[in-house]
Amino acid sequence: MSNRRHILNADAFDQLFDALRDAGYTTVGPTLHDGAIVYDALTCAADLPVGWIDVQEAGRYAVQDTGSGRYFDYTVGPHTWKRFLRPPREPLFEAIRSGAGVAFHAAAAPEETYALMGVRACDLAALGVLDAVLTGQTYVDTRYATRRSRAFVVAVQCARAGNTCFCVSMNTGPRASAGFDLALTELKDAGRHVFVVEVGSPRGATIAAALGLRDSTEEDWAAARAVSAATAANMGRQLDTTGLVSLLQQEAENPLWNDIAQRCLACANCTMVCPTCFCTTVEIDSDLEQTRASHTQVSDSCFHASFTQMHGGPPVRDTTSARYRQWLTHKLSTWHDQFGHSGCVGCGRCVTWCPVGIDLTAEAARLRASHEERA
């Protein structure tokens, strides 16, 4: 595999979009829509939120036009890449009845071939987390696996950390070192506006070759690394993960969970914006004649009462306290036992998009303090 590094002039950025289109990819990535930076189809570099930044705090999100002309100075918004690789509604199969017999027809295989433009290090790690859950166990989610293996990943090395970012604590960023086809570091000063392009795969090398790029110099590479070092020094949040896996399981009956539940609305926003939450349920629609029934997988959330429904009684996790405990403990603790790594990549979305500003880094720290007080 080539590890070569190149320089792409920002005024030739459209060539990358063209090369991806010519290679058969549908490019999706950040774009400004209704006051938020969301992921949608992109046709050219101008579709990106050029010059915009986002301002994030617990429970708050706003965008600002800085006029900087930079392409990637915002961080992550309310969308995640799972909306493309594992859409919120997925057809599973159709049951067709004739007489007493029944036949099951699997849904047609997905056709989409995406290029994901502007994947941040935390979100690249989140794709790795989803891969482990959906493709790394005995049974594989083939629809996800199909889209994922086809997807072309253009990573972006963050030049600005958001106020709710804590990828450094989770050891997932801010610099992505693997898992991408191409990675861009944006350099802009009075003299020039370029991307340092890292090639991470043979597929990436093919696209890079189509662009006819010049090689980068040692100085370019040093400048690119300096961008990441500066970002790493500016994390908005941090989380001490030392011993957290067992600590949180030991604190299952800490009264602090009830305290958090006083504020938590159980609205499920955190699970919807989280790039690793994978839970789903199944919906069934049948026709009036009862001859056809389609089964559809839809995203679900552990904050919903129905999630743990059992017959003839309340759900297993009946209270908001129990549901928030499940969410936070799963992300930071039991995920390790289930899949061998953290379920949280430190993207900060759940902190920003919580309507009442519940901050999992702060709650985990409070639980740690309470644990240590008693120890």
Partner: protein, 274 residues
């Protein structure tokens, strides 16, 4: 092939067990029945309703038995199926009762209510291989006499193992012989069973509270936690570790269970709403 795609099965026979419970004897619409182990379950679905986890209650050569209680939407549709009707089947899933670990030892089987169904393949195995075990005791508790399952098997069981029953309430059916068993909770039967605690494997299935108290008393009687096995129940949508519904702390019950040894789950069963 999608892991979510069911296989078409046909109902070969319907055996009524109690007012709300039937056993469906099923086979694939074509091809061979999958090999299932005692303790495993399948996701069953009647047309147009959801898939639900149902344990295998008898493993015949080319037929599978599933004993289902009508408690809601999906089980209503399943228990209404007639001979010749079709249904969807995905499986087998989950872990099995550790029969091999019990060979040469005393075997203690504790069933509460419908919990006897997932344990019946264990008793079938004992009937066919009685010489592989030392003492075999079955302790079975139900709410009332009318709920007693598999009465037609009891005589044979009693010939090769000890079967003790208890009911929570002694509600006499008009046309029934007087109840000869015990009245009260199943844990009261434990002291009556004879077993060598150092050399016993216990398999426990029933409502979670019944399993919790039974396991606690079995442990108190000297059986090590690792030799006590329970079968846990959680909401399940996929049964293949992909939907997240069946989580119990660090376990995915569909993947790591449903049969789990008590040493792994004991601390989890006492935390409310976990």
């Amino acid at each position: 092939m999608s892991v979510y795609l069911p296989r078409p099965f046909v109902v070969d026979a319907v055996e009524r067990e109690t007012a709300d419970t039937v056993t469906l004897v099923i086979r694939p619409q074509s091809g061979l029945a999958p090999a299932m182990k005692a303790g495993q379950f399948a996701m069953l679905s009647a047309f147009g309703t959801g898939e639900v986890p149902i344990s295998v209650s008898r493993i015949a050569r080319d037929r599978l038995h599933h004993t289902i209680r009508h408690v809601g939407e999906a089980t209503r549709a399943l228990t209404a199926l007639k001979t010749g009707d079709s249904l969807g089947f995905r499986g087998p899933f989950g872990t099995a009762w550790p029969l091999a670990a019990a060979v040469g030892k005393d075997l203690l089987v504790l069933a509460g209510g419908l919990g006897l169904a997932p344990l019946r393949p264990v008793l079938d195995y004992v009937m066919n291989h009685r010489d592989r075990f030392a003492r075999v005791s079955v302790l079975y508790g139900t709410r009332e006499v009318s709920q007693v399952l598999f009465g037609r098997d009891h005589k044979a069981w009693r010939s090769l193992m000890s079967l003790r029953m208890t009911v929570d309430h002694d509600v006499r059916q008009p046309d029934c012989a007087p109840w000869s068993g015990q009245v009260g909770v199943i844990t009261k039967l434990i002291p009556k069973a004879t077993y060598d605690a150092q050399n016993t494997v216990a398999m426990v299935c029933g409502p979670e509270i019944m399993m919790r108290f039974s396991a606690r008393d079995l442990e108190a009687s000297g059986i090590e936690r690792a030799n006590i096995h329970v079968s846990l129940e959680r909401n399940m949508k996929c049964a293949v570790g992909l939907c997240g519904h069946c989580q119990l702390s660090n376990f995915l019950v569909c993947r790591d269970g449903a049969v789990l040894s008590y040493d792994r789950v004991a601390p989890l069963l006492t935390v409310r709403e976990l």
